[in-house]
Symmetry: C2
Subunit: 187 residues, 2 copies
DNA sequence: TCACGAAGTAGACAGCGTCTACCTCAGTTT
DNA sequence: AAACTGAGGTAGACGCTGTCTACTTCGTGA
């Protein structure tokens, strides 16, 4: 593993253990045991390093979506939805970083390709369920966008704290079930 | 208007015109025509000032929700949903600030009271539609949380750029219609 | 007249991203 | 063998940031 990948790895660890505020160039350099200017030998700026970290986050999300065990299209989509929520709550700092354009460069090729691959996979899962007569005739990517947004907002608001600790639900599974039922019907 | 409110007003203007990155204590001080240390005479820290700005954002959102013209419960809820999206897209920097816990103090009384008031109003609008037989027997706040999250995620992803510029929709109204139909049925 | 509190100023400090000049050293070319 | 080259790392500087502190100014009430 070269120094570039070592910095990405160090930053990823620092991110998950300390949160978004800890992934400063100087903090990453210190955690990697190098001087404060060393990271800029391998990345043109902080955003480029963090973009590589965020791209790894989208890659993990993609991997989760590709390794679904469920066989039925509908069950696969539901599992993917639960997987998205699970990813966000298991990696809150990574989830935050992935959507923070002030920390990450949206134009970064490695990042944008990974994020759009996640969306395309999700749209494909939606399309498979449409083949069973769900939302027929609507663009898969349109339905996928709406459903993804519902999940994304649920994870975001939960982590934000607007729903967690609320009296009406102890866990995110309860509002998640409402969301899934709204889109996919009972069960 | 005292100096405290003048700083809040200046910060709000700076936020909408320049974005989140511009609302630094020193930037606000300069825009207000005072020295860099003056704002800390009226706020204990930057987060307290920005919390007051964000609270004003939630207050405006609350006002929108209270001034809905529609008479029918269902029409009122739909209008509130569209109003949330419209607020986010009309005030993207404010919308971002309101949910950025690294910039704002979630425990700030003025902020948390305003944000929970918005949620309570939304839950009330949901409850009125439930009285017409929609999602009967489910806690209004639970349905409200799920629906709010769907709208919140849609606005967030749109502003993030993951959906905007996508080939499948020119405006946010198209995926929004999908979301509203999923929750509220046709029309 | 004096005291006091609100408000503002100016300087300092550490931490940040970034830039630059310098150093080291393995590998390749001449 | 000597010279060059480029990857990688170091150290210092710059301007920016939030925050703290000491000092000033000024209107008001005792």
């Amino acid at each position: 593993m070269g120094p570039r990948n070592r910095l990405i790895s160090t930053a990823t660890t620092l991110l998950s253990e300390e949160g978004v505020h800890a992934v400063t160039l100087r903090g990453i350099a210190k955690a990697a045991g190098v001087s404060h200017g060393a990271p800029l030998r391998h990345f043109t700026c902080r955003a480029e390093l963090l973009s590589a970290v965020a791209a790894a986050g989208f890659a993990e999300l993609l991997e989760r979506g590709e390794n679904l065990r469920e066989t039925g299209p509908r069950e696969r989509l539901i599992a993917a939805c639960r997987g998205y929520i699970d990813f966000a709550l298991s990696n809150p700092a990574m989830f935050e970083l992935m959507f923070r354009h002030d920390l990450v460069d949206a134009q970064d090729p490695g990042l944008s390709s990974k994020s759009s691959a996640v969306f395309e996979l999700f749209a494909h899962l939606v399309g498979d369920v449409q083949g069973e007569g769900w939302h027929p005739g609507t663009d898969s990517r349109l339905v996928a966008a709406s459903l993804w947004a519902a999940l994304h907002g649920l994870a975001g608001l939960w982590l934000w704290g607007g729903l967690a600790g609320a009296s009406f639900t102890p866990t995110i599974d309860v509002p998640l079930a409402v969301t899934l039922e709204a889109y996919l019907g009972p069960n």
